[in-house]
Amino acid sequence: MRNVARGIAIALALALAACGGASSTGTTTSNSYQGKTIQLGAILSLTGAGGVYGPSSKKGMDLAVEKINGSGGVNGAKIALDTRDDASDKIQSQQVAQTLFQQVQPLALLGPTLSNSAVAVHPLAESFKIPILAVSTTGIHIVPDCNFPKTDPCKYVFRDSLGEESAIPANIKVYSDAKHPKTGVLMVANDDKFSKDGGTIVTQTVGQYGIDLLATIPFPKATADFAPPVTQAVQKHPDVIFITSLGNIPANIMREARKQGFTGQFLGGNGFNTAAVSKAAAADGKGAESGSAWYINNTFTSNAGFVQAYRTKYSSDPDQFAAQGYAAILILADAAKRASLTFSDAAGDRTKLRDAMETVNIDTPLGRFQFTSNHDVKQTIWVIQMDGIGGFTLVKSVTPS
């Protein structure tokens, strides 16, 4: 019995000493994370319809992690990034998030790739009070109202991806100012949030520029033969075909429309902004315009350095999704650096990180980066067009009002 009591006393003493040790370390070197690991988790669509975007995000993130860890880490701490594929599926995305919460216990999360999945994952992260930074979700009701239709702001949800609510109207304005189109047809995938939101934004915007929307043609993403929907669109003889959809679909529509003799303009959203889509559309996509968060040929240092490092590592050009993924890691690293993390109180650290994220003000490939009070991004919009050979050229830059 005495032995047991002595054991308990020793254990208590050791525990107290450990606590004391921790607090003294914390006070003496509050910003030194030497030997620690900043664990992050990413939920990306590496396969499925979002598979044209997720791999780019991953490459951008991996490059940033490598760069930061290679130059001493975050106050000495290494970043560990656990990236998992959600196969572009909402339910799977939620399951992956839950697995990450339980198995990896990340300081913060990144993703998911698609807005459709974000509406399932973000409320979950909010309820667990884990900061989550969206890197490619551009739909409406992502920030701050992640629990839409509830309107109370989500405190742990951020995004560094330019919303379609900003990008699509900017794109339509730039094109209308230059070419004054009179009529349009909207082709919209009707079975995912991103595409539907894009369609809603187009519908709400065109009237302001005197464009008469002759028809809205919804189609399911699994459509294989785009001839019937495109025939419907082309036979309206519109000046512009608006396409809000994912994956290779915009390219397939462009190809079919050109075959059917359409000579007008294609305008679209974020679904255009990847080299894979531009490459798939090739000559049929030449001139197709969209508002982008990023432009490859911007020469400011934070972008030029990123583009060069990306080309060196992957022997290919980055796209917008890679730039946003890269920027996301820089944002989290900067916030973590200033957050005085303890590495012993996970919940407290997450709140500290969240608070530090709100005051991020750094240079990224996207330009100078800050969050709005709604945790959204406020940045220059680059209206770009497909060059017909798998890349893009800049049409105009639009500074946010």
């Binding site: 009707n190 294989a224 033969d225 001839a227 290779n248």
Partner: protein, 304 residues
């Protein structure tokens, strides 16, 4: 509307070609070969791989792919069907074993990684690919306000010619007569000296070759190519087609294919993309209720 009817005829040709293979096996062997959709996918995938990875011209690549698909039909017969038949297993067992083979075929393509035969499939993360422009000459004709693509016209001609040839073989040749005899009564055919196993194997070969051909034409002129084109685009539709036309009936499958194409396109034009798929299956349901033997089925027999 005329353009939409053309669209329907082109996609209908693919459905018909696919369904002819489906119904041939059903008619002769009394089993639904659910690996048929995976063979359809492989027809497109193999052709694409040969053209893009090995720079092979389209025609020899297509011939090789069709032959390989025919051989896969033999694999289906020897691995999934014959052993079960020897054990007198019920047709449902054969159905399940073909589903298993289909999953394996899809997984092989799906698991492709860098450096493997199918590595192209995941380039750019796009998960789906198209034949490069210029793989085959594709002139586009504009006639009286109609757009007619050369490749789609090619599909129509190929499908119709092949189906006519098949119809001729079935009706007027010794092989065709043997096939029909086996379909009618396996035991009587055996007693008449017909090598039933050989008939089964050749049925699977022809059926799968047709399935592969449908797949490669589909990938050439209609759709992106991915591991899922069979499962997503033709598996259930093919079933709808053979139910519409009458299970086991070749002319029924042809007519059913074009009918489904038309129903889909009319549904799209009339009700929009939201209900297109639903309408096809509503037609199937209606047919099952009103005329369960299908358009050409003489009588409904216990098949499954």
């Amino acid at each position: 509307m005329t353009q939409q009817i053309l669209n329907a005829i082109f996609i209908g040709s693919i459905y018909a070609l696919f369904a002819v293979g489906y119904t041939l096996v059903f008619g002769v062997l009394d089993v639904l070969n659910l690996a048929h959709s995976a063979v359809f996918m492989l027809g497109a995938v193999i052709t694409y791989s040969l053209v893009v990875l090995h720079g092979m011209p389209f025609l020899p690549a297509a011939i090789i792919a069709v032959l390989v698909c025919g051989l896969l039909g033999l694999l289906i017969e020897f691995v999934a069907l014959r052993p079960l038949r020897r054990r007198n297993a019920p047709p449902i067992s054969a159905l399940i074993s073909t589903i298993g083979l289909a999953l394996i075929f899809v997984a092989i393509v799906e698991q492709a990684t860098q450096g493997t035969f199918f590595s192209w499939l995941w380039q750019d993360g796009a998960n789906s690919v198209r034949f490069p422009a210029g793989t085959v000459p594709d002139p586009t004709y504009h006639l009286a306000g109609l757009t007619i693509e050369g490749t789609k016209l090619g599909i129509l001609v190929t499908s119709v010619v092949l189906m006519l040839v098949l119809g001729y073989v079935m009706r007027f040749t010794q092989v065709g007569r043997a096939l029909r005899a086996v379909a009618e009564n396996r035991r009587a055919a055996t007693l008449l000296g017909i090598n039933v196993d050989r008939i089964f194997a050749s049925t699977l070969f022809v059926s799968s070759a047709l399935g592969g051909l449908a797949g490669l034409l589909f990938g050439l002129a209609i759709s992106d190519i991915s591991p899922y084109i069979g499962r997503d685009q033709v598996e259930l539709k093919g079933l709808a087609v053979i139910v519409l036309g009458g299970m086991g009936s070749i002319p029924g499958a042809v007519l059913g294919g074009y009918l489904l194409g038309l129903i889909e396109v009319f549904a799209f034009v009339r009700f929009g993309g939201n209900v297109e798929a639903g309408v096809a299956f509503a037609a199937l349901f209606l047919m099952l209720v009103v005329r369960p033997q299908g358009l050409f089925g003489a009588r409904l027999r216990e098949r499954l």
